[in-house]
C-alpha cells in the first residue's frame, strides 16, 4: 500500500509538469484557436537559458529561474506579434505549418547554441525524503508540485481578479466586442502567448533534473501535455490541471503495475488516451460542446 501511495505521489509530481505544459496549450488554444506544436521546443529553449545561467555564468538557481521566466514571457509575446499574427488570417493549415516551422527552428537553435549532448541538471530542491503517513515522498516531488500549484494559482488570480485578466478573457471569448469596448485584442493575445511560454518554461525547468537536459527534452512531454489537455477539455484551464494530474498518476501506475506497458509504452498509452477521449467525449471532462452556425 505504501508502495502504491508512493507511486501516486510520484505520478502527481510528473502530472503537475504535464499540467503546466497542458495549461500553456489551453491558454493559447482558448485565445487564438491554435494548437502550438512548438510549445515544447520553446520550453526546452527556456530551460537551456536557465541551465546556461546557472552552470556557465554562476547564477544562483532562483534568480536564474526568475530571469528565464521573464525572457520566456517576452519571447512568447514577440513570437506572437511577429510570426503568428500575420499568419493567423489564413487557413488552419497555414498556422499549423508555422508552429511546426517554429518547432524545427527552436529544436535546431538549441542544438546549434548549446550542442546536442545530454546534460545533468541539478535539482533546486534538497535531496532526501519526507515521511507523511508512512509514505516517503522526495523533497523534489513536493517542490515540483508546490511550484506548479503556485504558478497556476498566480495565473488564476490574474485572470480572475485583475482588470488585465478580464480584458484577456474578453479578447479570447469575443474579440470583436472586446475591441469595441476598448480592449487591445492583439496585445492581449500576445500576452497570452507570453504567459504560455512562461508556463512552458516552468514545466521544462522542473522536468529537466529528473530526465536530463537534451534538445529533445520536451518531445515526449508535449504529447503527454496534449493528452492531458484533451482529457480535461482543450478549452478548460481547470481541465488541463486535472487532466495533467490524472494522466501523471495514471501513467505512473500503469507503467509500474502493468508489465506489458512498462516504461517503453507510456507514449502509446498517452496516444490511446487522446484517441479514446476524442472518440467517447471529444469535449473532455470539463470542456463545453462547441456549437457552430453554418
Amino acid at each position: 500500500m505504501a508502495d502504491f501511495m508512493q507511486q501516486v505521489v510520484a505520478g502527481l509530481a510528473s502530472g503537475s509538469i504535464y499540467a503546466a505544459l497542458a495549461l500553456a496549450l489551453v491558454l493559447i488554444h482558448r485565445a487564438t484557436g491554435v494548437i502550438n506544436f512548438a510549445q515544447g521546443e520553446m520550453a526546452t529553449f527556456s530551460t537551456y537559458i536557465a541551465w546556461t545561467l546557472t552552470t556557465n555564468h554562476g547564477w544562483a538557481y532562483w534568480p536564474a529561474f526568475a530571469v528565464t521566466l521573464g525572457v520566456s514571457f517576452l519571447g512568447g509575446a514577440a513570437i506572437h506579434q511577429t510570426i503568428i499574427r500575420p499568419n493567423e488570417k489564413g487557413s488552419l493549415l497555414r498556422v499549423v505549418i508555422v508552429t511546426i516551422g517554429l518547432l524545427i527552428l527552436f529544436n535546431g537553435l538549441v542544438t546549434w547554441i548549446w550542442g546536442g549532448e545530454v546534460r545533468a541538471v541539478q535539482s533546486p530542491f534538497p535531496a532526501g525524503t519526507t515521511e507523511i503517513a508512512g509514505v516517503a515522498i522526495t523533497t523534489a516531488d513536493i517542490g515540483t508540485i508546490a511550484v506548479v500549484v503556485g504558478t497556476v494559482a498566480a495565473l488564476w488570480a490574474l485572470f480572475q481578479y485583475t482588470k488585465l485578466g478580464l480584458a484577456m478573457r474578453a479578447a479570447a471569448v469575443n474579440p470583436a466586442e472586446a475591441r469595441l469596448v476598448g480592449v487591445r485584442v492583439t496585445w492581449m493575445l500576445s500576452l497570452g502567448w507570453g504567459l504560455a511560454a512562461v508556463l512552458g518554461a516552468v514545466a521544462g525547468m522542473l522536468a529537466a533534473p529528473s530526465v536530463f537536459l537534451d534538445p529533445n527534452l520536451m518531445a515526449a512531454l508535449l504529447i503527454y501535455a496534449f493528452a492531458a489537455a484533451v482529457l480535461g477539455g482543450i478549452d478548460s484551464p481547470v481541465g488541463a490541471v486535472v487532466g495533467g494530474l490524472t494522466l501523471g498518476v495514471g501513467l505512473n501506475l500503469i507503467g509500474t503495475y502493468v508489465d506489458f506497458v512498462g516504461a517503453d509504452l507510456r507514449l502509446p498509452v498517452a496516444l490511446l488516451v487522446i484517441l479514446v477521449v476524442l472518440l467517447v467525449k471529444p469535449t473532455g471532462i470539463f470542456g463545453k460542446a462547441e456549437v457552430r452556425r453554418v
Binding site: 488552419l92 542544438t111 509504452l265
Partner: protein, 334 residues
Amino acid sequence: MTRARAFVPVLAFVVLAIVVAVVPAFVSAFRAQQFAYVAIYLIAIIGLNVLTGYTGQISLGHGAFMAIGGYTTAILMANHGVKDIWTIPLAGLVAGAAGFLFGIPALRLSGLYLALATFAIAVSMPAVIKRFEGFTGGGTGINLFGIPELTASLTPVSILGRELSFNDWLYYLCWSIALVGYVVAWLLLRGRAGRALRAVRDSETAAQSSGVSLPRYKTLAFGVSAAYAGVAGSLFAIATTYVNPDTFPVALSILLLVGVVVGGLGSLVGLIAGAIFIQFLPIWSQAVSKSPGAPSVVSGALLIALMFVLPMGVAGLVERLRLLTRRVYHRSSS
C-alpha cells in the same frame, strides 16, 4: 477550347515522363539515387494530397503509415523470402488497411484534433516498433542487404538486355510507380469521388446535406492516402536496404505535410516541387552551415518565411503567374 484544356495536362504529363526517362543518362548514379528519393516522397505526398489537399484532413502522422509499409516489405523479404518488388503492392495494401481502420475513429475528429491525434501516432510509432521486438527486430531493425538474391542491391537487373546499376534501377522503379500513382490519383479525383472529397473539405455540413456520405469518403481518403504512404515506405526500405525505428522518425511525418503545403495542395508541378523540397532541404540547409543544429534552424526559418510569402505554395505561385500572363495577354490583344 475544352478539348485543348484537357489536352494540356496530358501533354505536360507526357513531357514529364520523357524528361524522367532520360535524366539518368545525364546525371551521376549518386544523383539518380537522390532523384529516386524524390519519387518516393512524391508518391507519399500524392497520397497525402488526397487527404489534406482534397479532403481537408490534416495528417501529421503519415510517416507512421510509411513505417507500416516499410516494415511489411522488410518482414516479407527477411522472414518469408519474398522478392522485393512483389512486396510493394502488399505494403500498399497493409498500410491502406491500417489507414482505413484509423480513418474510422478519425471520423470524429476534425481540424486541429486530427492533426494532434496523427502527430501522437507519429511520435509513438518508434516506441511501438521497439516493443514488438520479435516481429520487427526491435531497435536494431531488419537488414535487407544480407539477402542480395531478393533485391537488386548486389545482383544487377537487366531489362531488355540492358543491365541497370542499383541506383538506376531504383530510379526507374520509383519514378514509374510515382507516375502511375499520379495517374491513378488523377483518375480517382477527377470524377464523382473527387467532387465529394472537395465538398467535404469546403463544408462537411453542406456536403452531408447534399447526400455525400462523410464516413464513406473520409475513410476512403484515409485508406487511399495511407496506401500511397505504404508504397512509399516500401520503396524507402528497398532503397535504404535497411529499416529500424529511426528510419521513419517524427520528422519524416512533418516533412511530408510540409511537402504537400509547399507544393500547394494540388497540381502535379506543385507536388513535384514539394517532393524536391523535402529531399533537398536538408542538403541545402547543410550547405548554409554545417554545425549541428544549424540545418534545422535554416529549414524552420525557411518554412516560416515560405508561409509569409507563398501561403498557397508553389501551385499558388503558378496560378498567380498564369492569371498575370493571361491579363497581360488580354490587354495586348484588345
